[in-house]
């Protein structure tokens, strides 16, 4: 497993684990980040990511992206 921030842009990957406080995990889940789901990095800016998940675009900062393991 590695953090999502290390994923290559443009390649879909599968989420294996999401760590962190319940509240933040829940919010991530509502945005479409769930274990077993697919996600793809669209763009990367200084560790902050723009991701494609469940047909929508979500921006995450580096600390959040590091909570999502692939």
């Amino acid at each position: 497993m590695m953090p999502l921030s290390m994923a290559k842009p443009g390649e879909p990957v599968i989420i294996r684990k999401i760590t962190g406080r319940d509240e933040i995990r829940q919010h991530l889940a509502e945005l479409g980040f769930i274990v077993g789901g697919e996600v793809m990095v669209v763009s990367e800016l200084g560790g902050n990511l723009i991701l494609q998940v469940k047909d929508s675009r979500v921006a995450l900062d580096r600390t959040m992206a590091n909570r999502i393991m692939i």
């Binding site: 953090p3 443009g10 879909p12 760590t19 962190g20 319940d22 509240e23 933040i24 995990r25 829940q26 919010h27 991530l28 889940a29 509502e30 945005l31 479409g32 769930i34 274990v35 789901g37 697919e38 793809m40 669209v42 763009s43 990367e44 800016l45 200084g46 560790g47 902050n48 723009i50 494609q52 998940v53 469940k54 047909d55 929508s56 675009r57 979500v58 921006a59 995450l60 900062d61 580096r62 600390t63 959040m64 590091n66 909570r67």
Partner: protein
Amino acid sequence: MGNWPGVTVEKKEGRLRGRKDVVIQDLPGIYSLSPYTLEEVVARDYLVGEKPDAILNIVDGTNIERNLYLTTQLIELGLPVVVAVNMMDLVRRNGDEIDLEKLGQALGCQVVSMSALKGEGGMAAAEKAVEAAVAGRAGELPHVFTGSVEHAVAHIEESVSGMVDAGYLRWYAIKLFERDEKVMESLRISPELADHLEAHIADCEAELDDDAESIVTNQRYAYIHGVVSRAVKKKAAAHSLTASDRIDRIVTNRVLALPIFAGIMFLIYAIAMGGWSVSIGTRGTDWANDVLFGEWVPGLFHSILTGVGVAEGTWLYGLIQDGIVAGVGAVLGFVPQILVLCFLLAILEDVGYMARVAFIMDRIFRRFGLSGKSFIPMLVATGCGVPGIMASRTIEQDRDRRMTIMTTGFIPCGAKMPIIGLFAGAVFGNSPLVAVSAFMIGIAAVVISGIMLKKFRIFAGEPAPFVMELPAYHAPAPGNVLRATWERGWSFIRRAGTVILLSSIILWFLMGYGFEGGSFGAVEDMNNSLLAAVGSAVAWIFYPLGWVGENAWKLTCATITGLIAKEEVVNFFGIAFNYAGEADLMEDASGLYPAIAAAFTGLNAYSFMIFNLLCAPCFAAMGAIKREMNNAKWTVGAIGYMCGFAYVVSMIVYQIGGLFTGETTFGVFTAVALVLLAGIIYLLVRKGYQGEAVRNLRSVSAAGI
């Protein structure tokens, strides 16, 4: 629905066109009914507390799976739900197909299609919702949960039935299963019952080896996935790059992001505020000041007044021409600039670029303790502080939100532009550097405040992690852009018609009348006026800022009137120096310049400008701060902080700057200014408050990397 800036942040009420008996309540866009942001709390409180007759759930057809997550929660509320699939035009263009009937059958509610952008289907959807409300019957609840989860939820339903409204039973049961604290509190669950429920939840968690919240989320998505795979046919392969993604690759590119952003901002200010041939805003304002309110309107009033027998020189003529026309005209003159600025910002918002700006700026703002989402309120505040302060609602963490509200007022808003323009023109030879420096001071005030406030325990800790949905880019819809422009511009114009009109009259009276030669009446010398008396009485407060001499009271009064509305400062000078007979505003708007130039030196003009840019905003913005803080102590604290900060900075600039220009000699206040400067520098460099929470958060982020 997505929730990007510019989308509803508070609930709005309206009536359905042609149906006077139907009240529509527009709720903020939310992702779910679990309260993570303030908007979700607003929406949830309304839906659960106010029991609407029906819910019209508008979902984005282009990413239906994520959107149906909320839909399933809404259906569980037991209220009649109509789902309107929005952006159908885009869905069709992508070559996708959504089977509305199948979707409706699976969800147990009516499903219709619409396109808000094209204005299709909205009315029909509303009509369906009305029908559903009249029928008053919710469909059968879909079977979202399976196996042991359904089992546990059913048990909880049994245990709490009778304690809650029958319709909401399922929703409450699921919330209890998720251990939602707010719901537990509101139902006053007894400890015994809580233990009983806990047993069911723990059993289920043990069986599925996951926590209750995740179990619910996963089953919900699993159910939705099943529904979507039956009802929706996608043409494009999953994870292909859309046009939006391709634009994002360039616009948020690590090399190009900042230059592109700087270029766009420069263009906006060039068009709205600059002094070039492309600067429509400036040209409009020049025209309004010189021609419309310089000649036409006063000329019109002159002929009307003399026509009805009011001669020049009478008090009524003076009230109307010198008080109202000059005062309100001075403010309305800036409408073109503000409209152009609001229009351009509305385009950026509608196109979808604004959300990217938050993303780009996040990295930079984080360095001084604010998140990228704080940038949008500040950008909007360059037009008007009130919507700017309101835009802070999208910030999840209370601490960040409060800090954003406190610092947003430092950004020079449209109403402060007249002050800057006046001094730039009168004292600094129209130098564009004055306006630029005003913005720099505003930004520096935000940065310095951010760093300083973070050193205190109450604000300590990292800003909340940045999570934000980005809308797909699309061509701006003229209706949306014009509406946003109008809403923001109108609040400015409306104030000119109300608060400013009234204060112009009051000011005219206070300045024109007073005690002279032992009796009360119209005064010849304005220094004898009522206002001068009030101003002189409190002018000593501003002595350290260099507001000295016979004009000190004018500066003081101007600042006080600035609290009514910042444009009033210019309006006040207009009346103050005009009425003294030193310049005639009616013939030439820039006639004010010589009087201002004579009254100020470069340094105290600058000190005055800084104080007025940074101190407490106008009453309208203070009202917005009070609404958003929702707490008297915080409101007073925020406004007090702004005034104090403004005072300190102006004093430092005047006292220490004066040593170089020779305007001041080293005295008590110079020493005080030096101490204050040292204090600010100390706060900037000292180590922050090191509480438990701070270390915890840091260790989490450190462990993540």
